[in-house]
Subunit: 272 residues, 6 copies
């Protein structure tokens, strides 16, 4: 169950309005690896965790923190949109450069949201739950999580160079730090789980299910084999890597004709 | 540039038709972590790799192999749909159990695809490129890749228990093996890159950009702190983990009123 | 900023597993009017509210409660999936009716989520932020909110008749009650705002912007005019309704040919 | 059944081309609350209305009118794109300001549509039927409709200030008027239905289904309770509002371990 | 501008309810090639046609007819859902076969739409405007149209064999006929346009823009060359087909390193 | 099964960076008719072809070539993004025109992809498999294919006029040529299949399924009948076209009330 207070986790106050940058900040809210993704991903993973309380709590507490990150970024976007000449096209028309710059803002910030944040990415594509993963296998999911925090921190780092607003950079310095923490914690949890379950997910597979003769071979084209000779020696699961050229182990498949009710093509080849 | 031959990489021949299972196999083709995802993800990563030929080739060769995996699964689906009573509702009506079972198949297999595979998941949702990642940062992306192979192998393992068709299980034994290899190779590459760049992505961040006082603290609610005391000692990046209760570092934000052209609400509070 | 405890807001424990019903409950989590929608809608509206603290707090507190509703339903789904024969197709095959019934479950519950809830609707379509609205105009948005609670309560009511599990019905009785409260509160807020701003959104429009001669006329075809004579007398904004048959006020438009660089069709008509 | 004539319902002729504004007008065609949404929403509601002819006809006639609104806006967009320097980058390059301004147009207007309108919103996101509602409960749906007309009129009002083209404003003055009418008619129909069915949707719920002790309580955090004391006295359904702090009525849920076929995580906690 | 009457274009009355078949009929309403697609596709093409009145009118009149086809199918779905045991799970539980059969219906028909049609396909995926095309080039678009009518008629033909309800088949017999007409009319228009503009779209391309040495060569792998020797002699545009094995005309690309602000990977290869 | 080499099929090297044009080129990669669409469409059609080897091989070989087209365009985008001032907002701020121009680039190229290509269209909307078709009926699908190549070549032609970069135009000259070839080959295959199966898809329909009295009539409104008199004489299938005004062949439908468990509206009309 969830609670709230009105304060923000950290400062979210830009020095000046910048509607064009507001469009870019949307990536951190509603992008594939924005805060909506990590919040929902961790909460759904937590809600489905069976036993494993120590991991469930980590997921739930971190997911709850991320809700507050959406909040800070939504506040930041709302403030970047304050006081900007978004409706004053007539005046802008007298300064075509201002008009051209405003052409780079997200039109929905003005038309749809009344100068508020949008649950969409930096191109205006709505966030969707196809971005997130909750598989019930914690090692698999923690790998998803460390990836999400890596992509997220990378995006903040790139945006950091795209503004010189000190207020924005201050919030970004906090988000970079939290993404460092979250990468650290998922890496720590992965290390624990790999120690118990091995590096290959899922670690519970009966060995006879797997055609293990294909489990350590890299198939590579002839020209790339030189570049790929570093794939050798012991693999992370302890077996030896092999390199081979790709080859088919099966014949050319032939499908049977479809029944007449399918009204698929009926040409001579089909009747052979 | 790409080439092909008509043979399949491995066998893809079920013992018997099973249109209901064909619906489930679609998850491995067009699901979030199906073969369309890994093929496109590795190829887009490879096409954007700048320098780093040893990794670029690994991405390109693996992505090319995955195209052949879509092919095997599409062939498998086409064969699972052969010879099944999908159009014969009238006959099925005389055996309501057969009719009920057929109700579990994907209707588009019969109506839209003429007994062929669909580029969609097990619920009929079209594959979309929002599933994949290509960030230009190889360590981040290899983490995405090891996650994708973990989720993918997990799904094959689950489907393995949901059929007793030996032909299907034979193909799955091959896919399990290839997912083992691909987890191994991305883990090996991650190990190399972490050794050079450190565990926190991106490793190139100027330290003064980050509010490092927040980089190692876990914020946790009071009841979960006991369960989470395992988050302690050195973090993967070498610093010490801390635990704290969550608290706001900022005040309650107040946004300025919107300009009249926004036609946002105008009530007394707004005029205070 | 957000906090949590481990307890649920209300009971979420079914009497017995029912994977087929679990698929249906997904509508209340990730459907157009599921709990993800109301949670995110209220929070985004709250984050963008400028002044109007009394409404902002209402939005934030209600949005926070809705997060806990996702939690209860996710827990319910996870429990409905416990102990069901979802992987045992071989055994099911010996009882074709059980197999047929299991054909009605969501395959992703087993394949993708490991018997956990999914952030998708009852057909497996991912939730997306295109469902929600946050316009900055509170009267408009509260109308969206009372609609969302009406649709949501309606869906719970329909699902109530589709199960006889007492544990499920107990949770539904709580959700029905909360949807009653939320309809009540948005209706109360709408009444306040309409009293100040009038019934037509936005209430701040300069009258000369509007072609008011068209503001109260219903255009209706001849046969329906009898059924529609109830649209008469004073409209909610105080003016009189009129009924008229539909007619064009403008001529047939003629577009100019496209420039050659568009490579649109060039046929004789185009050259007239 | 539907018919047409070639004339437009109203004028749709701008004074001058403006490809950048054409991008913004797309929101009114293919946005969440654009004319595609209201047309399809009213028609689908009408087609599913069972009895209640007086409302069915209102839905059908209004939906039919909205089809003509898409037509006017599509014509307007086509004309805003006429005669603009969209392909003449080389010339634009000699005037970088013109080039910069053109950078704000929707590239698909030139590349994909040959200077015609697009069935997408102002960011180029395709319209989708997830935006609309047709529930079979008319009171619920009329609330959706009055919301749609409120959001739609708000967006036209905002766009009105973003251009000084008299031809565009003339069309907008008509759309503002029609949205006034449509808000009026849905409000009138809501008033009728609420008088019969009560304010809480659905009005047909057996009272014993609902945990009525939770039907009038606002849960609010301590700091916001002062701001929210206006939620008191009689609620719209006649009962008394109560305010309480949020509290869990249930215990912490514990899920059972998943079966081995799920290959979920197996760690020590899971075995407790 | 559009008008309507209450009558249907043709009969839409099934002999008996069949909620499972109602799910399948949805493909014809909201699927990729359902009636929503052809209605919207023809109207958007018509609204953007510049000159070429003879084609514009054909598009507009046909698009208007298709609106009435959505209407007939929506009515059919509503009637297929009448009188079926969709809410009576308790009774169904006493007859597990009925329960299993009902598991094959679309749950949203009962939960979301109150026994009405849905603007979605047979798997419940919402219709979206990404399905349609309106390019401004009529020859290109008429090819899209004849494809749409071909796919649509094919789907009706397949569904025809999946029911023995005479009322449903009666409506399908009408839809098959209209799809015959619409294929005929687009084929006739294509023939006219090809006679004027040639078979290759767009026909207005300056010849020096094209690397014509590659305009008639089929690249094929060695094993398929035998099967593909039928690609020979004069091509539709009058030139001669050639067959060749695929080969790269360019070298291996090398991308430059990204700038440091991108925080892409920095490993030794990158520094070579 | 698939193979690759490192060389590109053709040159993909622009003369100079142009991040704004890179955004536009995305339409050719991830747009509705971009190279991802044709690659996946041809491969899925090929994988499902039953018999008809001569067409299956054509599909597979062409689909394989298209994979290499994605590669060339992804390389082109990566190079158009090299060396551009995408992160240097501070410097750009001193030259507002440069800043305004950069506002026209796709922000995700910098933030998400680290100066690499994106699997999305020119507005940043992710490619999705709802764009493609694989029906099992080859004549239907080849019509889809010739449409796809027509739309694709049209888009390249339009982009050709939007740049003066000789390197970009060189790649476009190759793509134009290949689209000429592919239009030619699908037209040739269509001609063959129409000769065998007739022009109306599917050609295998029992004649008694169709209400042939409606198979050749154009329904047109009175004013357009003059413009549409060119629809006369023999239709492509050999029968005679007829023209008629549209009229309903059925009565006004009346739906039965919904059952009480649907909680649809209950008003007086419903009880008649």
């Amino acid at each position: 169950m969830f609670f709230r207070t009105g304060e923000l986790q950290y400062y979210a106050k830009p020095d000046a309005p910048d509607p064009v940058f507001a469009k870019k900040v949307q990536e951190l809210i509603g992008g594939q690896y924005g805060e909506m993704s990590v919040a929902m991903q961790y909460l759904f993973q937590g809600w489905s965790t069976r036993g494993n309380e120590k991991y469930k709590y980590l997921l739930m507490d971190t997911g709850t923190e991320e809700l507050g990150h959406i909040e800070m970024l939504a506040t930041m976007v709302a403030r970047l949109l304050e006081g900007a000449p978004v409706h004053e096209q007539e005046k802008a028309a007298s300064d075509p450069i201002v008009g051209a710059i405003m052409g780079g803002m997200n039109p929905q910030h003005a038309i749809v949201h009344g100068l508020g944040a949008s649950p969409k990415d930096s191109n205006g594509v709505p966030w969707n739950a196809g971005y997130i993963v909750a598989s019930g296998n914690l090692l698999a999911d923690f790998r998803a999580n460390v990836n999400a925090e890596s992509q997220g921190r990378l995006q903040v780092a790139r945006l950091y160079s795209m503004t010189d607003d000190k207020g924005v950079k201050d919030l970004f310095s906090f988000l970079l730090a939290r993404d460092t923490m979250h990468q650290n914690q998922w890496l720590a949890a992965i290390k624990e789980l790999e120690a118990k379950e091995g590096p290959i997910v899922p670690g519970t597979l009966p060995p006879e299910w797997e055609a293990t003769e294909f489990s350590h071979t890299l198939y590579t084209n002839s020209e790339s084999s030189k570049e790929l000779k570093w794939i050798n020696g012991p693999a992370p699961d302890g077996h030896e890597f092999k390199i081979s050229k790709p080859e088919p182990f099966s014949v050319k498949p032939e499908l049977k004709p479809a029944p007449p009710q399918s009204h698929n093509s009926l040409s001579e080849d089909n009747l052979k």
